[in-house]
Symmetry: C2
């Protein structure tokens, strides 16, 4: 397939999309939702074929290393069912209900010479999405791009190719029926990996690449792309229980951050505890974690209070477990906790539990992460929980977008200037 032609069509469509009124885009999003519900059977059939192929490859007869990767979790992510299709449709309707970011004027100010200068949000242009096995990403990301006035090029995992193609077909047809210019949804239906490399080279046609998937995918995209990339690296989140923390509050927050959903990026991996509160806090905390099946690995001071904890190693401080494992360190001071986070944190989310106002404000200022929490669980790091309505992943970068990315993060701001025949005085 000709990836450049797909991208060129997307760029042409992007020019038209950029100035479409919000109600046209919203009508298309609702038509896309209706289309998914109406096409449920075809989508599930395509998904069943993908699943059968993946299961066959995962069977004991399979011999290549790659095929060993088809774990139960992988197959679960690949699976669609009526509830998940309905969820995709609901997601598109939710995006339709959000305010249109395009055309928003974020500020306007007069200049002494009578010029008026402002900033207006406009789409980025063409966004490429490279993702793995979850077919739901197809609908989510296409919907977010359309709403923000961007054309999109989708490249999903080869195992989900049939499911993704079925979903993309439905979205395209429904959008066309609602008057969206053709070409806005490019779909790379060739599973050859060479197509990804081609896609990542088209810096004259594509404005942004967003990889959505595991660390291997992100690294490969970062290293290969000639287009700017916004990505999620990893989530190594800490909770720091300050000397002044209420032990019960700290226990509730830390337990939630570790146990509620340990396999996600905003779960806690390391618990830091001030030595002044450790004796009143750690033994009960550890017992509750143990009861929930969490393996605790502690520093020597932790193990004096929690003898059954395993010794923690230096490597543990840098490990994103994504599992029911927790590293625990007792620190002698606030500064030691902040220094530990600066050294080992991944910059996704960090939390302090404290009753001391000054410590709370210092933590907010001094900890460098996409989201910094006072007396709340890092698990809230999520576009929906932050009130952004929908999210295009979480950026662990600093440029352009940091933390959960909503619709405004899929736009840029141009300056707009109103004059009345203004000319610039000679400077030389």
């Amino acid at each position: 397939m000709d990836v450049r032609a797909v991208a060129a069509a997307a760029q042409a469509a992007a020019r038209e999309l950029a100035t479409l009124p919000g109600e046209r885009k919203n009508a298309a999003l609702r038509a896309m939702a209706d289309g998914l519900v109406a096409a449920e059977r075809a989508i599930l059939e395509a998904n069943a074929r993908d699943l059968a192929a993946a299961r066959a490859a995962a069977a004991p007869a399979a011999e290549t290393a790659r095929e060993e990767g088809y774990t139960a979790a992988f197959l679960d992510r690949l699976t669609l069912n009526p509830k998940r299709v309905a969820g995709m449709a609901a997601g598109l309707r939710q995006i339709a209900d959000l305010p249109d970011p395009v055309g928003e004027v974020t500020g306007m100010w007069p200049r002494p010479n009578g010029l008026t200068v402002g900033r207006m949000r406009v789409p980025l242009g063409v966004i490429g999405i490279i993702y793995e096995s979850r077919p739901g990403v197809t609908a989510d990301t296409a919907g977010l791009c359309l709403k923000s006035g961007n054309a999109v090029i989708l490249r999903g995992g080869r195992e989900a190719l049939g499911s993704n193609a079925a979903i993309a077909r439905v979205l395209r047809e429904a959008a066309a029926g609602a008057g969206i210019p053709g070409g806005w949804l490019g779909f790379v239906d060739d599973p050859d990996r060479a197509r990804v490399k081609e896609l990542l080279s088209l810096h004259d046609l594509i404005d942004l690449i967003i990889p959505r998937g595991g660390p291997d995918l992100v690294r490969t995209v970062r290293e290969t792309s000639q287009i700017p990339v916004i990505a999620h690296d990893k989530g190594l989140c800490h909770t720091y229980v300050d000397a002044s923390a209420d032990p019960a509050t700290a226990e509730a927050i830390a337990f939630n951050a570790k146990v509620e959903r340990p396999g996600v990026c905003n779960a806690m991996e390391t618990l830091l505890v001030h030595e002044a509160v450790a004796p009143r806090f750690l033994p009960e905390m550890a017992a509750r974690l143990r009861a929930a099946g969490v393996e605790v690995r502690g520093c020597p001071a932790t193990r004096r209070l929690v003898p059954e904890a395993a010794p923690v190693t230096e490597a543990d401080w840098d490990t994103e477990y994504l599992d029911l494992v927790l590293s625990v360190r007792v620190v002698a001071s606030f500064e030691e906790a902040v220094a530990h986070i600066a050294r080992h944190g991944s910059g996704l989310a960090e939390a302090i539990v404290t009753r001391d106002h000054a410590c709370a404000m210092r933590f907010l200022r001094e900890v460098d992460a996409g989201a910094v929490f006072v007396n709340a669980s890092t698990r809230f790091t999520d576009g929906g929980e932050f009130g952004m309505g929908a999210e295009m992943g979480i950026s662990t970068q600093k440029l352009h977008a940091r933390g959960p990315m909503g619709l405004p993060e899929l736009t840029c701001q141009k300056f707009i200037v109103f004059g009345d025949g203004h000319v610039r005085a000679s400077t030389s």
Copy 2:
């Protein structure tokens, strides 16, 4: 020299800089300004040595191709004098007077569950600046980085090495005297180009690279860097004179955009004229341009109205002259003008001259550029003119910063979240 060690020291300093109170940074900036004035003689002596070396290399005896590049304009950019040193000092004092972008909370909103979510500006970390012959860039960029809480690594042109080193030394000493942590100003004093490549590989230590210089420098940096780059590509700016334009207003704006300072990126390179106004506008406009020494190259319709104009070629529409040359095209419609700009514009700045409100608003929305002007000269595309106080160049990219970059563009925003023991409800 060990570039990695310089960058590591900058990263360590950046952590301290990030939380310095504004008054400490402002005191340092004023001390740096005083230092430059006090060291004027040493700086001018170093500059005189750089100039002598460059003039010797530019002498007829010089034989390498590189040395032919030392034009009069190059030598002028390299030259310092008491007025220019005073200008650097004044620039630093101006930066001190600007509001501190760090710690600004740009929004804060309540969530239904009682969480409060907000966004706070924080520094990017370490910014690398790669520039060419103008020693003034050393003081400007170091000042902007310090004010925005970022550490900086400077790599100037080899011809200005002595001047830049003298300036950097003064800035560092003055800042140290004002209590700024050492390492905040890294200076690459080895002229070997291999050091640039090393610098551009340090993605674990440097957060952003800003090249300031000509297209060759920008291209090399873009192609080599493993660190995100924000750059200025080129400026191919249009002025569109709409059917409803007042000819006298259009003439004033277009003349200013072309002639006032033709060698800069925000000068006009192409004039688009609606056919309805062309007969009343173009002959007088062309006569005034000719009188100012501008060579006019026109499309066939232009040449019917301005017979002495040279024929324009397809290549002209894509040429940034940076000189007293102008391409002129007569268009049959607003849409034709916008399409021409979409095809040939560089995305820096575009202007319309019109009395028609609907055309003005359509132009604002439909033209995709860093700055879009209604009834004003593109020459106003400048951080100072926009009221941003000081500027770190003009970005022609869309991500992170578009158009003139001020202090806020040298920061990112993190989320801050205040809870009261909040934990996230189970989702599964």
